[in-house]
């Protein structure tokens, strides 16, 4: 036992530098969260219906000065968005000057030898100027009566055409706009910027309550009564004859045109939880913006009336 032989321990310094790569080459970690979002546009849809038995368009023939005609148009909202206002305008005018074509005698229409006392050349606008249009909201708001509200009385159809049609671009358009705007009751004339914009007469209700415009909720109708009158004038001088009424030259003339109803939306609004789901369509879980069915939902009442 003498020889003490120390075994040298292969001193294994057991400090193991383990590089632990979290991830690294053997595993990648990530995490994914997903969410869904949906956006849907509403519908703005004005429908015109006859009110009762009457026609809702004018079809008049064989008119003489002093004649007038009324139609009633039921403005209905068939969309999901409240309509702020409905602008009435005129377009697509077609005029026939009896006995003339491009200011030249047109013998196929009126044979040679016909008495010149009973017709004459004139323009479409001269013809339209013989007519006056009156507009009144007479309709019921649902569940109550509504006082007749005259929007405009006896506006020259020529001025109305010049002011509101897209196709008329004459130099006096702005004058016509001003004339019409001045004769329209209260806040009902809408000017869209300048003479090149779209102008029209608001024919929906403008009482500042929940019926303003044509709402979806409450379920609104506005009934509009339009009157067109062939104004009789006692002015004389047709064919420079002091016995003949000037209006003789309009004999046989005819015009057809569209009355255009443009429904407009309310302004944009900030949509919050309060606007969604009063239970009108679904419980609100489907995100339906319920206040967009109501009047005054975006901007305040009629900000751009002038």
């Amino acid at each position: 036992m003498s020889i003490k032989k120390k075994m040298t321990m292969g001193a294994l310094s057991a400090t193991m530098g383990l590089s632990l790569l979290a991830g690294g080459t053997f595993a990648l970690v990530n995490d994914i969260e997903t969410t869904e979002a949906a956006l849907g546009a509403g519908t703005l849809d004005l429908e015109l219906r006859p009110d009762g038995e009457t026609q809702h368009n004018f079809k008049l023939g064989n008119l003489k000065p002093g004649d007038f005609s009324k139609v009633r148009v039921d403005l209905q909202n068939h969309g999901t968005l409240a309509i702020k206002d409905v602008l009435l305008g005129m377009d697509n005018l077609n005029f026939d000057d009896w006995g003339f074509e491009n200011n030249e005698r047109y013998y196929e229409e009126v044979p040679e030898g016909t008495d010149r006392d009973v017709f004459g050349p004139n323009t479409a606008l001269e013809y339209l100027d013989q007519f006056a249009i009156t507009a009144a909201v007479v309709g019921y708001e649902e569940g109550g009566t509504y006082d007749k509200n005259i929007i405009a009385e006896d506006i020259s159809l020529a001025d109305f055409y010049k002011a509101t049609s897209l196709e008329y671009t004459g130099a006096d358009k702005q004058d016509a706009i001003d004339t019409v705007a001045a004769s329209v009751n209260g806040l009902s004339y809408v000017k869209d910027g300048d003479a090149n914009g779209v102008n029209g007469m608001n024919v929906s209700t403008i009482d500042e309550n929940e019926w303003y415009g044509v709402t979806v909720n409450p379920n609104d109708h506005d009934v509009l009564e339009l009157t067109i009158e062939y104004i009789s004038s006692e002015e004389k001088g047709h064919n420079e004859n002091s016995d003949l009424y000037l209006q003789n030259k309009f004999n046989g003339d005819s015009a057809d045109f569209d009355l255009v109803f443009e429904a407009r939306q309310w302004g944009g609004q900030e949509v919050t939880e309060d606007d969604i789901g009063d239970g009108k369509k679904g419980s609100g879980e489907d995100g339906y913006v319920e206040t967009n069915e109501r009047a005054n939902n975006g901007d305040s009442y009629g900000p751009d009336y002038q």
Partner: protein, 222 residues
């Protein structure tokens, strides 16, 4: 509210019993030492925070309507790993969108006037993303949908975009933009072709880990 998807934590408790045999077989002496080694994986867990409202559904909108939602991203309760980047991708959900022509523009105005794609529809929505009141991104929804994943942390590959303990909050403003262009020679606004249409999209937020690095004994050890 938020879909919670947990990464399974695989904890590798590695007790390595190393038998260190000193000397050869002939020796009578020996000594045995152990080292205790532990490998523990961290947890990378991204979640939507309680303020998150980006999971919206809003219908019956009209041009001009707008709203603001909050994107709130946090670490899960058990998260231990910093997040490097958060990659957002947005994809349309199939089967929701359809081209509608509520006002019959194809006959009222002219063939094709009522037609549009889902991307056209989404292009009507302006998006402004801001953080702490300052704008970080603006564009339109169609630019987001279908795009390759985009990082929203603004950090590079080696900087933690969302360190553990921090959260991320963005205000997302969305507006159905109003456009007063009308079809030529018509009173109809062009935007009428979008009436009644709807789009649904899925937003996916992918959190990535930090790159691998050399670790030293005792780091984060318990």
């Amino acid at each position: 509210m938020s879909m919670k998807k947990k990464m399974g934590t695989s904890i590798l408790a590695g007790a390595l019993g190393l038998s260190l045999i000193g000397g050869g077989t002939w020796a009578a002496f020996n000594d045995v030492e152990d080292t205790q080694n532990t490998l523990a994986n961290g947890v990378l867990d991204l979640e939507f925070g309680e303020k998150n409202t980006i999971d919206f559904e809003i219908r019956n909108l009209k041009p001009g309507d707008h709203f603001t939602k909050t994107l709130h991203l946090v670490h899960g309760d058990t998260a231990t790993l910093d997040i490097n980047q958060i990659l957002v991708s947005t994809n349309s959900v199939e089967g929701v969108w359809e081209d509608k022509d509520v006002l019959n523009l194809n006959s009222e105005v002219g063939a094709g006037s009522g037609d549009n794609s889902e991307s056209d529809f989404l292009s009507q929505f302006k998006v402004v993303v801001s953080a702490d009141g300052s704008q970080v991104w603006s564009g339109h929804l169609n630019q987001l949908v279908g795009l390759n994943p985009v990082d929203i942390t603004g950090t590079n590959d080696t900087t933690a975009g969302l360190p553990v303990g921090e959260e991320m909050e963005y205000e997302v403003y969305i507006e159905f933009e109003e456009n007063d262009d009308r079809f030529p020679n018509s009173r109809y606004f062009e935007q009428n072709k979008y009436q009644g249409e709807e789009s649904k999209f899925e937003m996916s937020f992918e959190a990535t880990q930090m790159p691998g690095e050399e670790r030293f004994n005792g780091d984060d050890a318990e």
